[in-house]
Symmetry: C2
Subunit: 367 residues, 2 copies
């Protein structure tokens, strides 16, 4: 299934504070084996290896995660693992990869993949990706993998689709996280999809779009790409990259492009249904694992053993310990060597506030 | 305040499974520093040292706790720390101490003290004990320290008092744990007190009572006491003690004695108010510590540090760990090297069921 000219770019620069206390500055969410034996970035790469050999992968990460990424992905070419000197959101990260690829492989089809999501149905994923690559390779097209929504989720961006086009459909509009009422309307309408953050386009289309919609940043990225392979690359990268605009690919490229109208924008959505989950919180992980394993009473417990009595729908992570849960419901308990998190499924989204507190108190060892 | 002829007998044979996972077979409740820096048995001894030198103390414990008791109480005479070969409840344990003392100190006033309760007001305790020793020394009297009830507790035995007698009152009746309705009536009546399990009587009165109410066990205990100090003691103790009836001092002696009527029984209650708490569960410990320390939002958290957000009335024990509690209420979380307990204040009384499960599953390392 290897597809000539297909180059996966893995975005691995996030921090994932909502998985504290397991996630830390130097052990970001994508570097954890939250679900399964391999880490999430390792799973992301493994999922794409049927499409491209290891030497075609690029990874954009940051200084905190670099050494761990290199350790976890030893087969990838080290020079293609780039650590941003500062975070500048997705548009510059993606743009840099595109300009670099344009030089070395002018006909490259670039696939952009977040490294901290999970996919339950790998065969479904491969099918969607194959179709997406074909559309992206066919011209000035931008392809986004859309996920058929299963609930009125307010935490995701939505894609409004329009006319059918081959195996996909044209994109009418990108919509940021909606409120509950709009999310319910989107779900009912049937032509809205969750934005998976997975995009496919040729390096040429992507660099052209950057030049058009984000010209200043495009010029900075071109300069950096020009230095690649020379002794000055590191210095140039570190000096110039901070000058890029701090903006997401959605805001910078997709929304202005889609404003041209669904006929002119050439943005396509491939609606897919491959058990995607962005694991936005401990609660999302809990739900993902309940859906996968159907555990007794909805309790997902990691430990050396456990005993539950009148306990249901809890997520408890305490590796190496015997866990006893009595008369508790909807709790999220996570224990590491130096920290213990005690919260609920409902409040797990606020775990980032704990990290904010620790940052403020300069409790560096704990973040 | 040393009182001639006063001999404290410490009952330290309990297991205290409701404090699992901190309490274990070889680390029973009384051997833990649940409240304060010293363990509960150490606190019990320290509380009594103003009344008697260390060489007048006796301790009744069991094989599982023996070595730890000796380690924690190095000043006590080793030969006066006795390990029951099997548990036989309080009547035989107390009786053995009485027969042993009758031989070595015929005028001994024996004080019986559970080792797993806490006392907040030490001065109040000393005052009550002083008065109790005086009454017990004055003749064929039995003195019980009664606790003024502060709530309709259904977990304790009650003492119904009658006519005033000096600084105490005569005891009319002992009542086992009442149901909620009766407990409320007892609280309203005003002449009911909690049975603290602390008793005072002369060795002669106690041994006479045993001979009268428990004659078979009394004969066994006399035989064991006769062997004390000889090379045959250990063997005799281990062989004969299991023949004692398995019965509490309340059932065996106090209830039949009080049935003689409050004038004839010579049982006296000293109502006292010294912040007594039998710490029957994690919830009781939590309440005791809240009453003592008035912590913010009722959270009692043991850890290397903590951050709470919308969290109230939780007991969390995770020594050495930073604890973050977000949006949780009324939880009891206790973490040790090999186990994690997750329950609620309401259900903490069921922790014994966890231990029962572990016993059944033969998970010996965990009990």
């Amino acid at each position: 299934m290897k597809t000539e000219n297909f180059y996966p770019v893995i975005l691995a620069g996030g921090r994932g504070t909502r998985f504290w206390p397991l996630s830390r500055k130097r052990r970001a969410k994508q570097l954890l084996a939250l679900d399964g034996k391999r880490t999430m970035v390792q799973q992301t790469v493994a999922r794409l290896l049927p499409f491209a050999p290891a030497d075609r992968f690029w990874v954009i990460t940051n200084d905190d995660s670099l050494s761990e990424i290199l350790r976890q992905l030893p087969r990838l070419p080290k020079r293609q693992v780039l650590a941003e000197p500062v975070g500048r959101n997705t548009a510059p990260a993606i743009g840099l990869a595109a300009f670099l690829l344009l030089q070395s492989a002018p006909n490259a089809v670039v696939g952009l993949f977040p490294s901290d999501h999970v996919v339950a149905n790998e065969a479904g994923f491969r099918q969607a990706l194959k179709q997406g690559i074909e559309i992206a390779a066919a011209g000035e097209n931008i392809v986004v993998l859309g996920i058929r929504p299963t609930r009125p989720e307010t935490g995701y961006g939505y894609i409004e689709s329009g006319a059918a086009a081959g195996k996909g459909m044209r994109v009418r509009r990108f919509t940021e996280k909606p409120d509950a009422e709009r999310a319910a309307a989107f779900l009912a309408a049937g032509n809205y999809f969750w934005n998976s953050g997975m995009f496919l386009w040729s390096a040429r289309t992507l660099t052209n779009a950057l030049r058009e919609h984000l010209p200043r940043t495009a010029r900075v990225l071109e300069q950096i790409a020009d230095a690649f392979g020379t002794s000055k690359f590191e210095v140039t990268f570190r000096r110039l990259y901070p000058r890029c605009e701090n903006i997401s690919v959605d805001y910078a490229l997709l929304e202005p492009r889609s404003a041209k109208g669904e006929g002119a924008s050439n943005i396509f959505c491939l609606p897919a249904d491959f058990g995607w989950n962005d694991l936005g919180s401990w609660t999302a992980l809990h739900e993902h694992q309940v859906a996968k394993g159907h555990p007794l009473d909805g309790n997902v417990i990691s430990g050396s053993g456990n005993f539950t009595l009148d306990a249901a729908d809890n997520y408890i992570y305490a590796p190496g310990k015997f866990v006893a849960a009595v008369g508790v419901r909807d709790l999220v308990i996570v224990e590491t060597e130096d920290a213990l998190l005690v919260t609920t499924r409902e409040r797990a989204q606020d775990v980032g506030k704990v990290v904010k507190h620790l940052d403020q108190k300069k409790l560096h060892k704990l973040v």
